[in-house]
Symmetry: C2
Subunit: 185 residues, 2 copies
């Protein structure tokens, strides 16, 4: 028997209680995610293996849905903003719902047939991520970017293709505002 449960969410930090899963990704974990490897190595040489993002989650066996928060710190590696690795779901029939709580971000998506979409993430904005669209969140602001996510407990994450090939667009700091660029152009 699975019982109902309340979870407190701190919208400013992404902290949740109770918390069932938690992981952090620091710069050294994400070396291959950023395009400017020299910038990564310079930062690591200066002992800046800083926190880039963390995921906190709640789930209970017997419930088809689980949910959690992702918190991306503000920061850059070279001109690229701090971001998540990006992934497809293992289950190609399962999407996700995001609900931004704090900060300012961009949600970068690409479909299997290489269509590209970008959407703004800001407090009060909920994003529907349909099945089989890879998704990466990017903090383009100066405060932590915090969002709540909900998906099927069996959706799973498939990081392979994005880790190997990267995404079709990069988001970099422009002179006045973030720029979405084609890294192959």
């Amino acid at each position: 028997m699975t019982y109902p449960e309340n979870v407190a969410i701190d919208a400013a930090t992404g902290a949740i209680a109770p918390m069932v899963e938690h992981y952090e990704k620091r710069l050294a974990d994400l070396r291959d995610v950023f395009s400017d490897r020299q910038a990564v190595d310079r930062m690591l040489a200066e002992d800046q293996n800083i926190l880039v993002y963390q995921v906190r989650a709640f789930k209970r066996e017997g419930c088809d849905l689980w949910f959690g928060t992702t918190t991306i710190e503000p920061g850059q590696v070279g001109r690229e903003y701090f971001m998540t690795r990006g992934h497809f779901h293992k289950r190609r029939d399962m999407g996700e719902v995001y609900y931004t709580q704090a900060g300012e971000g961009l949600l970068l998506l690409q479909s299997r047939d290489r269509q590209i979409e970008t959407m703004e993430m800001r407090p009060g904005t909920s994003s529907l991520i349909p099945p089989d669209w890879a998704h990466r969140s990017i903090n383009v602001g100066t405060d932590p970017l915090v969002f709540v996510w909900v998906c099927n407990i069996e959706a799973g994450n498939d990081y392979g293709e994005i880790l190997e090939k990267g995404m079709l667009r990069h988001v970099i700091a422009g002179a006045a505002s973030p720029e979405i660029i084609d890294p192959l152009a």
Copy 2:
């Protein structure tokens, strides 16, 4: 092909844009939900067929999840607070996630084997509703109670049992605070 989409959620009112589905439940629609039928009829005789709650939703074909908001106005019928009808899901293997945005409420749940749970709803609180627990939301405050909900698009709502038999607990205004009572006791 289903494309990603952003939805703006107004946490204070529950308004969403774009909105795909919308319905309102007024007092006359809910005559059989409240236990004090004389109070209902007095209010209706005074032409107070007022709004009790409304549901706004967003969905797209091709996505396994949909989401929306429920907004329950503050108010009472006799000593009972304004509330939703309450339902099980048609799909007995599918639960739901709530995330309270504004106001002050109680979430009343009962399992098929007649176990009872109540949980507080307040801003920042997310509630996991496991599969096959009937759920009813009750506004025990003085402002609108607004929550976001997310579930599988195939979960469906089965109102029959709760409409016919009611729920095993009622929430009424006590002298100082809401009281949860057994209507058969």
